[in-house]
Symmetry: C6
Subunit: 241 residues, 6 copies
């Protein structure tokens, strides 16, 4: 099976080398978990993913639990991404779920959020981060119910979804809550690697899992540069799903 | 005792090299736990196991807690497996247990599921995954009761059963719940190994335990290719049970 | 003190090299814990121990929490052990404690089991496994009470007892419950060792503790072959108790 | 994107080499977490940050949970920093939150503190330490609410904020409470490194995360000398945000 | 300070090399914790300590939580120690605290045990093991109260006391309960060391702490031979308390 | 800043090399935590610190939770320190807080202890150990309140205080309770190091933190000899606070 056979039904991620690793992008309709330690660029990847959609005329929604909308948009402007234009055209919408308003935020996720997302007609959804969402619940069953409700709501809209999650510092390939992996069709891990000079800390990315598609099973270096994340895709070769 | 003596009463797994490691397949009627980290191909192995049965005219049931039926069937189609044909002929049935409907799903597992499975006349059963099943219960005794009920129901039908389970990231040869090993007659571990180039991540498989049969005690590389899992069975030699 | 001085009052284990390590066998009346990870042959060792007794005309009881009697007997038949003959002659009895019948099983262990064992006149007892027995209790005090009751009941019959237990994956020389060591006069650890080819996984055995007898303090390789466990007893030298 | 483009909107930290690593300083309005093991100079960095502001005529507030005001000011005098002058001119204010007055301190953080900070007109805020603040709460939800309230109050004043936190001894790049990272726009880690003589213990610093700005991704040695922290900024090169 | 200056007020332990390490023995009236993994000879050391006293006409009491008196005495007979003679002369008394009679055993330790011990006129006391004693309590405060009561009762009789404790498998120099060290004047650690052939497992001993006396700070090999524990005391040199 | 500039306001510790590492001693009025594993000499250091004060006519108080006064004084006599003389002159007072009288001891620490200490006019205070003090409380908030009350009471007397604490065996540079570091102005860690012969266990000391003073950041060997602790201060060089 050649990688090209599978390219139908792929959503380009906006991250060049990552698309190559995935044989074209995330499979349409997937819920993809992006997990990583602080500073590995999870929020940046989320914005980049949405703006890649906007550039193709696809609507995107950013569910933000960590930052307010103005700060988030300012982050995008740093990369000279046409974020204000996208907002003006109705292609990008930031929905703020304030963790200080615990009850309302939880209620929204478990209730009307699905309808809101469908009404918006989003083709791409980012939730940043499910780790903070999980913190809103005080017990495991409620945490699980919220997460399942959120993933279900996203999936039912037919959009392709990126969930960001903090990595567990003891096992950086696993999310801190240990739950998010269960609702995801794919897992991308952003991590650190020590550079050969023992001084500079490098970034590297790995696709741990991606259902129904061939994907690379390599650890690829990436950088966060003036245009966002960039995966060094040299020597990528694809296996199958 | 030569390995061939034990081949009576074996169920071919559909995974070529794995059958060699097992001296022909899983012993008939066994409950086999397949444990692994995300992306190691547990769901794929489960589908492959059922379709190997369909090809021999054996009925199979896939109890899915992770994915809806359409998505699961789509996964099988990616491998060009005749899954639609199998469903049409009544050889393959996907039973969805939705983790969002906790109470009903638990009730079904502890109640009528045994009768359903028997009525279906399945020779092969897959439960994907017991990790998610365990999450439905909020306390250890209920988790245990559910797991024992499920394994008992499968075993009493006389079918051969594969239970998939997430591995514990701290000890990848142990299931995350630490319980599933107790109900299993066999344990197959799917894991990662670092390739010699330090860059490509390889997959490797090991049979940790398999009651009442000789089996290989080696760590064998495998890949997930266009026809599903394929174990590199070079240099396999069998011990005894 | 020569090893031979202590051979009086020893019960041959049925495992050739292990007997050498013990200077003849388990001391009569001991409660011996056999702990190991899945697939190291704990159940097999238990059956082998009982059948070695049957061969000498000694009655044995197998308290099975993990498997039903037919499956257990089938395991023994795989090794061509005369298990059906032993059952027919009343030398071997399998007592099933079903973990699905939690209350009854616990009640039996804490109540009439001692009388049952005495009435049976067993010289050898195997409990497979105390890990599963411990799971039946929901709190530590009840777990402890059950374990003390079981060990006490076995000890009072005057029989020599083998308790099997799952090893803690973090510390494979310790049982998973961390309690069973306290009721045992001896501890035998079954473990894995990586073979020199880094590919084949070997088995090795160690006597951690054995009261009132000299025993080897070495790590010995063993295999599970057509006649059951076989310890490679080359270079064994005995210390004292 | 050259580093200089981003220098607008930066607040010099008062720590020479750290400013270079950040392309000029902390982004204005950021909440920056400074995490480290005991003795790595967290309080010192906080004081240095405020006094660098005072030198430019910017008001600063030090919320002290660990030390009383006189002791804190004495610490600053040790470095010959003009702390008494700054207090006299109204440029520096120490607010003591006594952990022995748990209820009042918590009440203040969740209540009027925001208004107090705004009224003070502070451009720079230091909270030393959020670890001790977290200890005032007895359960996770209250801990989270307090932390979110504090970070929100600081952020709403428009000031640039430094939160100090004890590092987790098991994972020195993570805060002890595991929560503080969630409210921070940036994370600076102060740590130990063993010197080449195996005897002298060195100090080294790393910027783990800093939103909306390019920053170095290197591990830089630093010392605590007569003028406070000094980062050895040789060989620093900046990536992007 | 020469070691000989401190020999006044020492109780010979009965273990030759250990006495050398201690400059003569345990200080009179000390409560000494002997901690070790299973099979390191803790019970044996306890018996040896008491019989060394009997040989000098000193009364000793063995508080046994692990074994019944007949089994314990049999252990001593294996070493050809004149244990029956000692019992007959009233020099040795075994007091059984049955862990199956939780309430009575706890009651006795917290109540009349002190008077019993004083009435017996014991100069040496062994408690085997405090780990099992701790298991009798279901919560930390009760565990602590029992342990303090026991140590207090022993100390007030003026006798020299040995408490045995299971080592924590994760940190073999610490007792499993993590409490016993707090009531002890001295700590002796019995441990395993891998022999140079990587096959034979050796035993080694270390005095971690011993108040008010000079003691060796070395790791010494020991064996359990026909006369009990024997420490290889070559190259011992004493520091001070 | 030369080390000598800071010598004003220092309290000599009585441990020669440690004073050099601190540029003269502990800063006056500091609360210093001395943490270490069992047998590293914490109690000894505490006594030595107080007797160094007595030699200068400074009153000292030893709050003992671990040992009774007679035993403690006997420990000091072993080092030929003039402890009886100091007690007779009213320069040294041992206050016993018996952990068996939990309620009274806790009540005293949280209540009148501050007045007692002030009335005594102590210039030096030792609390041995806060680990045992922490054990008296059954929950975290009470533990914290007690510790803050104790440290506050000591600090308000103006005396210089040494708190001893058991090290966490998993992270020997951190106290077992993980709280004590928060109330301390300085932390001194006493630890083990393996000697080059792999047999003798050495002792080494490190100043982890010391507010408002320059201190060495090296790991220095020390011994416990006939005059108490002695730090080998060769090659010490001081940084700044």
């Amino acid at each position: 099976m050649s990688a090209s056979e599978l390219v139908r039904g792929k959503v380009p991620t906006g991250v060049a080398g990552l698309d190559e690793m995935l044989g074209g992008g995330f499979p349409t309709g997937h819920v993809v978990l992006v997990t990583g330690l602080p500073g590995t660029g999870k929020t940046c990847l989320g914005l980049q993913f949405l703006l890649a959609g906007c550039a193709r005329g696809e609507k995107g929604v950013f569910l933000s639990l960590e930052e307010d909308a103005p700060q988030l948009l300012e982050s995008a402007r740093q990369f000279h991404w046409p974020v204000d234009d996208a907002v003006a055209k109705g292609l990008l919408k930031v929905v703020r779920l304030d963790p200080r308003e615990t009850r309302q935020s939880l209620h929204r996720v478990q209730g009307e959020l699905g309808h809101e997302l469908t009404a918006l007609g989003a083709k791409r959804i980012v939730v940043d981060s499910v780790s903070l969402l999980n913190m809103l619940s005080d017990d495991e069953p409620s945490r699980r119910a919220t997460l399942f409700a959120l993933a279900g709501a996203c999936r039912e809209t037919g959009a392709t979804t990126v969930l960001t999650a903090e990595a567990d510092p003891r096992h950086p390939e696993v999310s801190r809550d240990g739950l998010s992996e269960y609702v995801a069709d794919g897992v991308v891990v952003l991590g650190y690697s020590t550079a050969s000079d023992g001084h500079r800390v490098g970034l590297s990315l790995r696709i741990l899992k991606m259902r129904r598609t061939a994907h690379a099973r390599t650890v690829q270096p990436y950088s966060i540069g003036p245009s966002g994340l960039l995966v060094d895709a040299k020597a990528i070769d694809l296996g199958a799903a």
